[in-house]
């Protein structure tokens, strides 16, 4: 189904100003977050800055990915700021060839996850506001220097999270008819359209992330900006429904990405995405606190930083390496295959993405559903902070959301959905790559997915402890 051809929804999405409108909405939210974060009360649950980012933005981001795709990147207000800056400063440089991988973005994603736990950012409104300001400044600085969407493609940690998560989304940009593309001589979908009389003036922007729609596969690096839709003179770009996650098994060369199995940086992103989901959820529980105390005693340190760093190294490097290479070694033993195994490890690292997404959904979905209505009393409270009197009424602090017990089955459903997706991908990849001994080849990987699923359910059942640890000694 081509969503762009649907009545009403299609017309709205094809409207040229829709992205700007969404970005303006998000910019207003970002400005509110920054103002209240900097000048409002420094109490996390009472400040728009921390409530909107920790509860609503994160939750709606993963729900958007589940039901449509990378919609946050579509509405990203940083691009609006960048476009405004580019009116004054035109970028002249190309992103350095040696940096055209995701390593910077993956590194920054780890830094964001680590900082969130270390500094308890959920309870620091001013720090959250400064983080957002720094984000805007970085986006503007990078894209004022470098052409295209260099910040989105190579730097933005939220973007990298969204790109890998959008591989399990149900919608994808593609072509309506390949024949039309074969007859196309202008390639406006990637180059953009320029005015004939003033060739320097862009009428419709092409894909800034270097995705040539006829050769594009999957959602990696696609921000759903719909620039290609507006630029195509043949109206041949579609937003189609598809089977989620199947693109993770695609071995063909992708426009702007290359072959998935030759991209160690993307495999690393998949690993950080999957295991980071477990760490992020585990870190909110009481046993995590106990583990940290024990580690602190073992390491003879007082502060949380080194302990958390050790946990992250274990959770994002050592444990994934042991599990992935261990499963691969067992698979090779079972199939008596002594061939190269790097590709297999990478393939199955990508196959874990649906499970990782299930964990993010279960975690962020929990906060969204249990805290959905908190935006009402917090907005009322912000109005009091702003006007000095209760213009929106006294805050209704009793308004929160669903009870944790009601949300638990939904969380479990997300985990099961994610695990089933990963199990199916493992099965399909094994059947394709080892047709004679596919069951044996898949067995250790199926066992790994099930073990991770059990770990996730265990984490879900742990008592929560909203830690605000300055030290653990």
């Amino acid at each position: 189904v081509d969503i762009l051809q649907l009545p009403v929804v299609g017309a709205v999405l094809r409207w040229r100003r829709i992205r700007t409108l969404l970005q303006l909405g998000m910019l207003i939210v970002a400005v509110s977050i920054v103002i209240h974060g900097l000048f409002g009360p420094q109490i996390g649950p009472r400040n728009l800055s921390t409530v909107l980012t920790s509860i609503h933005w994160r939750g709606l981001l993963v729900v958007g990915l589940l039901i449509a795709g990378n919609v946050f990147c579509t509405a990203c207000p940083m691009i609006l700021a960048r476009d405004a800056a580019r009116r004054a400063i035109a970028p002249r440089l190309s992103w350095p060839r040696g940096w055209r991988r995701k390593w910077i973005g993956v590194g920054l994603l780890i830094v964001v996850l680590f900082s969130y736990e270390l500094f308890d950012l959920w309870n620091l409104p001013a720090a959250t506001a400064w983080l957002i300001l720094c984000y805007f400044a970085l986006a503007v600085a990078v894209d004022a220097l470098f052409k295209g969407a260099s910040f989105c493609k190579y730097v933005c940690p939220i973007g990298q999270f969204n790109f890998i998560a959008s591989t399990v989304a149900p919608l994808e940009i593609g072509v309506r008819s390949s024949d039309v593309c074969r007859g196309c001589r202008t390639s406006d979908c990637i180059k953009g359209q320029r005015q004939e009389v003033q060739p320097l003036r862009v009428v419709h922007r092409g894909c800034e992330l270097g995705l040539f729609v006829p050769a594009k596969t999957g959602n990696l690096d696609c921000t759903f900006c719909l620039d290609c839709v507006h630029a195509c003179p043949h109206d041949n770009v579609a937003l189609t429904t598809r089977l989620p996650a199947l693109e993770l098994l695609e071995t063909r060369r992708r426009s702007g990405v290359g072959r998935l199995l030759q991209r160690a940086d993307l495999a690393a992103l998949a690993i950080v995405f999957t295991f980071g989901a477990l760490i992020n959820a585990f870190a909110m529980t009481s046993p995590a606190y106990a583990v940290e105390r024990r580690l602190a005693a073992l390491m003879h340190v007082q502060s949380e930083g080194p302990v958390l760093a050790a946990l992250f190294i274990m959770g994002l490097v050592l444990l994934p390496a042991a599990l992935l290479f261990g499963a691969n070694a067992i698979a090779r033993l079972l199939t008596r295959d002594a061939g190269a195994n790097r590709g297999a490890v990478m393939q199955f690292a990508f196959a874990l993405v649906p499970f990782g997404f299930g964990v993010w959904l279960a975690h962020y979905g929990f906060h969204l559903l249990t805290g959905l209505l908190t935006i009402i009393p917090v907005t009322q409270s912000a109005a009091i902070d702003l006007f000095g009197r209760s213009v929106l009424g006294e805050p209704l602090w009793g308004w929160t959301g669903m009870g944790p017990g009601q949300v638990y089955p939904i969380q479990l459903g997300f985990l099961i959905l994610g695990a089933c997706g990963s199990l199916a991908l493992v099965r399909t990849a094994s059947s394709r790559d080892t047709p004679q001994r596919s069951t044996a080849a898949a067995a250790p990987w199926h066992a790994l997915v099930l073990a991770l699923f059990i770990a996730a359910v265990w984490i879900l059942n742990l008592p929560m402890d909203m830690r605000g640890l300055g030290g653990v000694g």
Binding site: H36, N47, I55, D120, W122, M284, S286, L386, F387, M466
Partner: protein
């Protein structure tokens, strides 16, 4: 409206909001002293929370209409809210049960005599789980 005028208008609104928020925090001449009983609260028993309000010259703040909010330090959790009863000499008291282990933020908000808003806060570092 011209783009320059629109931009100037947006900057003016932004500056006005910042100014208004900054002004709204102007109760720094009133101090709050917090007392908890027991000093280390647990999730299975009520905690008596007392807050003593005083003017800058040390005189007690009487006749304020106040409310106590106890928030977990993660957004999205249901806060515990209680009315603060005046006990005299600028002391206000409430009895609440902090329902989850971990750190909490206590905030007292309301109106001082004369209608000025007040917001004071403190942190309870670790509420202990029930044994």
């Amino acid at each position: 409206m011209a783009p320059e005028a629109r931009r100037a208008g947006l900057i003016a609104v932004f500056a006005a909001c910042c100014f208004a928020f900054a002004c709204a925090k102007g109760t720094s001449d009133v101090t709050a002293t917090w007392t908890l009983e027991p000093a280390h609260p647990t999730t299975d028993a009520a905690t008596v929370i007392r807050v003593a309000l005083a003017h800058g010259d040390g005189s007690p703040v009487n006749g304020a209409r106040l409310r106590l909010e106890a928030h977990m330090n993660h957004p999205g959790m249901a806060p515990v809210v209680g009315e603060l009863t005046e006990r005299g000499s600028g002391i206000y008291e409430s009895r609440v049960t902090l329902t989850m282990a971990g750190p909490w933020m206590l905030a007292v908000s309301g109106e001082l005599p004369g209608g000025r808003r007040i917001l004071k806060q403190t942190e309870v570092t670790a509420v202990q789980p029930s044994p």
